[in-house]
């Protein structure tokens, strides 16, 4: 067991250690020193990133009686999760200020969520997977509710209800799968399934399992929660919420699609259809909206659906495109929410609140505009390459999916419309002295924004190394 821990579990253990440290600190330290909570989290996450290099990835390593695994694929996702967690933790300054005494508890929950997300990616049996998902989910309920005011509580409760239903669906699917194969271990299931003819039972089970998982990504039948959650949530938590759970769940969904569940055409078809519906729903919903956070909620849901469509057409090439897409996407999202964090969360944030903000602070608003342009998929940003690469995966999957691709491409025009709705007011002119326009960034916020913009541009102009990495990982899964 100690061997297992040293071989693959050091990063997670490091996070766990810091969770315990934060718990102890929350009891010992006076609430006056609330500022150090953020520092401790950031140190913990950076340490964990360093420890990732000690994890054994070649060959695959299975630990704790095959219930956890590790290879380059999980390591990459761990790395991305930790990086996103790092930047999200950096952005919590304003939030921590408002909750003061509970700052340490808040960071305990944040770290727990990261711990859960990491375990989701490396889970190798359904029980571990379920426990990790619940760990992540429960932490996110608290994270959402941690901001002051009525809306955050409402959002948290809505998320709780949807999440509970989707967990039920997931467990139902797992029980079917157990009934068919007599095992909950992914490797065993894969072995049993590949030696047999696919049955209807098996298709139903796999569809239910994937459905339970992807509802956390806001896919069509379970998509509505995302609007309320984003509306009620603080921006630093959104920076976390729109990246870490997404990475974790895509990590496991892609692996499940490739290995134990990747047999049936039914699954592909259902997921592809659902993601198309999601893209349709999200893009058309956002066109009518004026609240910036709601627009980003819809954009998150739509972007997840693009990636999911590519992931559902299982192939190694598609997997590499999905990984690259996620890699680009999380950085854009963090940049957007870093700017919203600088702007402040007091108001409901209508698009017109940002009127003329460009003339107040060129650099910050330029960075924000660049991030939104990247989300819309314009060139010299990573969004352009990511979109082309992802869509090429769908185009390569056969003529049946060309109508799907065409529908997605037309929907991205609607997406452009709502991104323009965000962008246009930034450059409109208004009175310079209005209080709304005042931006007072602190160092950590500027730091996050600068790094993210650099990432967006570097991945947009020199994409080849990153794509190579994704291909390497996809071919070695």
């Amino acid at each position: 067991m100690l061997n297992d821990i040293f071989n693959i579990l050091l990063p997670q253990m490091c996070i766990l250690g810091f969770i315990i440290l934060q718990l102890i600190l929350s009891m010992l330290i006076s609430p006056r020193y609330y500022r150090y909570a953020r520092l401790v989290s950031v140190i913990g996450i950076s340490l964990s990133i360093i420890l990732l290099s000690a994890v054994q990835t070649e060959p695959q390593y299975f630990a704790f009686k095959n219930s956890l695994m590790s290879d380059c694929y999980t390591s990459l996702f761990h790395f991305l999760i930790l990086v996103c967690g790092f930047f999200a933790a950096l952005l919590t300054r304003n939030l921590v200020k408002t909750i003061k005494g509970r700052a340490y508890t808040f960071h305990v929950i944040l770290l727990t969520a990261i711990f859960g997300a990491m375990n989701i990616v490396s889970a190798n049996d359904f029980v571990t997977l379920f426990v990790s998902i619940e760990l992540l989910s429960f932490s996110t309920y608290f994270l959402i509710a941690s901001a002051k005011g009525y809306h955050s509580k409402e959002a948290s409760f809505k998320y709780l209800l949807t999440s509970a239903v989707s967990s039920g669906v997931f467990l139902f699917g797992v029980s079917y799968m157990y009934g068919i194969t007599g095992s909950v271990n992914l490797s065993d299931i894969y072995e049993i399934i590949s030696s047999r003819e696919p049955s209807v039972m098996y298709s139903i089970a796999s569809i239910l399992i994937i459905l339970g998982l992807i509802s956390k990504l806001a896919v069509f039948p379970f998509a509505n929660w995302i609007i309320d959650v984003y509306k009620g949530c603080e921006s630093s938590i959104l920076a976390f919420l729109s990246t870490v759970p997404k990475l974790a769940l895509f990590g496991i969904v892609c692996r499940l699609m490739v290995f134990p569940l990747g047999a049936g055409f039914e699954l592909t078809f259902v997921i592809a259809l659902l993601s198309l519906l999601t893209a349709f729903w999200a893009n058309t919903y956002a066109v009518r909206e004026n609240n910036v956070k709601v627009i980003f909620a819809c954009s998150a849901s739509a972007n997840a659906s693009y990636a999911l469509l590519a992931a559902s057409l299982v192939s190694v090439y598609n997997l590499s495109t999905v990984i690259f897409y996620l890699m680009c996407y999380v950085f854009m999202n963090i940049a957007v929410f870093a700017f919203l964090n600088i702007y402040g969360d007091k108001k409901p944030l209508s698009v017109n609140d940002f009127k003329g903000i460009f003339y107040n602070n060129h650099g910050l608003t330029g960075a924000y505009a660049l991030a939104v342009i990247a989300l819309a998929g314009f060139p010299i940003t990573s969004g352009f390459i990511a979109k082309i690469y992802l869509f090429s995966a769908i185009a390569n999957s056969g003529l049946i999916f060309v109508p799907f691709l065409l529908a997605l491409l037309i929907l991205t025009v609607a997406a452009l419309y709502y991104y323009l709705k965000i962008l246009i007011p930034l450059f409109k002119e208004c009175d310079k002295n209005t209080e709304m326009c005042a931006l007072k960034p602190v160092f950590s916020q500027k730091f996050v924004l600068v790094i993210m913009v650099a990432a967006i541009l570097i991945m947009g102009i020199f994409p080849e190394r990153f794509i190579e990495l994704c291909r390497f990982i996809a071919y070695n899964i």
């Binding site: 452009l416 002119e429 020199f462």
Partner: protein, 496 residues
């Protein structure tokens, strides 16, 4: 000499200047900014002329950029590769010229945010040159999308001290322009992705360069699908009739120099795209589609000529006349023979000059009289004799009087379509197109007659005639029209 002539320099010189202009290091001084931008444009034009002078059609300029020793996106076979053959070169020089005269014309039309304006202006130039020179589908698409960002700002921003209502109008037309073009480019992306994939499947070459695409092995039905997708993309830009409705708004509400660039060069990117993709890369499907497309071209010519006749706003007349003229360009391409291609390229150049001149005239009139409505505008010939002289000559050129460039290209287009051996439908189109050209003299002369003649109202009596800047723009346009009209071999010789 070869070391001096590099395509990346040609493309990225405006880009570097644009970045320099927007950076906080550059002085926020109107005169310095304007002179710098003009200097860059003039230098760029001279450089492009140098490249033209040293051009040898047997071995066109090719250059490839590597990123740390790698291709741009090696996994997709995308190389950052540029190629200047004769068509690209002519259009690049033309683009450089149009941008130069548009930068001269900017002086009186742009009243604020000079740094931002000239930065976007040069960025647009870079993007358009990128479209004309790229030899790889994805790089082409990159520049095609990149061009939307500066074009949006150039059309939609408030560059003058105008009323809120006009500002709103300009913004709405900019959004319309971006959404239309983006919709088109999404169809185009689908076409490019399918072409890339099926070229890989049937030929085993993982490459997106135009020269690596072999269309004969791709299944015919897929070729048609690809060709139609691409045509929708280019049809928005060109524009082909049902996809044209963004154009009059954008051209009317943009400031004068931007209208000149839009009509002079931006529309040509659509025609160039059809030439590069459909005509050159997918000839099999194009020879089948061309007769149908020729009918669309004819509709372009006839329909918009009538619409232009019904307009009262000078800029809208010019905008609709551009659509009509682009129909001719399309007809030339549809002929699918050497004469048609020459005519098409020649007409692109001729029309760019004409439309720049007309937009300049409209801009000057609007600047002086604050009025673009030909029903209420009259008698400005008496107060602005020099402008009137230029306006008469440019209008005569535009309706195809011998001695000016459009005459030659119109005749060549019809000859090309007549001698095409694709289908009789094309010959029919040519037969109809020729008399329809008379319509252009109807709306153009109406514009001249209503706007310039008659008694001068009191309000206009104190307006000034054209300034040196405006004179330079109009004179260079006219010089171009006359030179190409009398020595058409300057362009046609390159295409042989």
């Amino acid at each position: 000499m070869d070391i001096l002539l590099s395509i990346p320099f040609l493309i990225f010189m405006p880009l570097v200047a644009s970045i320099l202009l927007i950076s906080p290091l550059f002085a926020n001084n109107e005169i310095v900014v304007r002179r710098f931008a003009k200097g860059v444009c003039v230098l760029h034009f001279l450089y492009s002329i140098l490249m033209l002078a040293c051009f040898d059609s047997a071995n066109p300029y090719v250059s490839e950029i590597h990123f740390f020793g790698l291709d741009w996106v090696q996994s997709l076979g995308v190389k950052f590769i540029f190629k200047l053959d004769s068509v690209s070169l002519i259009l690049s020089v033309l683009a450089s010229f149009v941008f130069m005269i548009a930068s001269l014309a900017s002086k009186f039309n742009i009243r604020k945010s000079h740094k931002f304006y000239y930065s976007m202006f040069l960025l647009l130039q870079s993007a358009i040159l990128g479209i004309f020179t790229s030899a790889d589908m994805f790089v082409f698409f990159l520049f095609w999308e990149l061009e939307l960002i500066p074009a949006y700002f150039l059309i939609g921003n408030n560059w003058k001290e105008t009323s809120d209502e006009e500002c709103k109008k300009a913004q709405n037309s900019a959004v319309k322009f971006v959404l239309f073009t983006f919709l088109g480019s999404m169809f185009m992306l689908l076409g490019i992705l399918l072409l890339h994939y099926y070229n890989y499947v049937s030929n085993g070459i993982l490459s997106a360069s135009f020269s690596d695409i072999v269309d004969t092995t791709i299944p015919v039905s897929i070729q048609y699908l690809i060709a139609v997708c691409l045509l929708i993309g280019f049809g928005v830009k060109l524009p082909i009739i049902p996809l044209h409705s963004w154009l009059p708004d954008a051209h009317t509400n943009a400031p004068t120099p931007v209208s000149m660039v839009l009509a002079g060069i931006l529309l040509k990117t659509g025609a160039y795209g059809i030439f590069r993709f459909n005509y050159e890369t997918l000839p099999d499907s194009f020879s089948f589609i061309a007769p149908v497309l020729a009918v669309f071209a004819l509709i372009n010519i006839i329909f918009t000529a009538f619409v232009a006749y019904a307009q009262t706003d000078i800029k809208r007349i010019v905008a609709y006349s551009s659509i009509s003229n682009m129909g001719l360009v399309l007809l030339g391409l549809c002929a699918f023979n050497k004469i048609g291609l020459c005519a098409s390229v020649f007409h692109m150049a001729a029309h760019a000059l004409v439309t720049c001149g007309l937009f300049m005239v409209a801009g000057i009139v609007y600047l002086r009289c604050k009025n673009r409505d030909i029903n209420t505008l009259q008698g400005i010939a008496a107060v602005m004799p020099r402008l009137f002289g230029f306006a008469v000559l440019i209008v005569l050129a535009s309706i195809g009087i011998p001695g000016f460039a459009p005459f030659i290209s119109e005749i060549l287009t019809v000859i090309g379509a007549m001698s095409s051996d694709l289908s009789d439908l094309l010959k029919m189109c040519a037969v109809f197109a020729l008399p329809v050209l008379i319509l252009s003299s109807c709306y153009m002369l109406k514009f001249l007659h209503n706007g310039f003649f008659g008694e001068t109202p009191e309000a206009y009596e104190k307006v000034n005639d054209i300034t040196v800047h405006e004179f330079l723009v109009l004179a260079s346009v006219l010089a171009g029209l006359v030179i190409f009209g009398i020595f058409p071999d300057t362009i046609l010789g390159l295409l042989k």
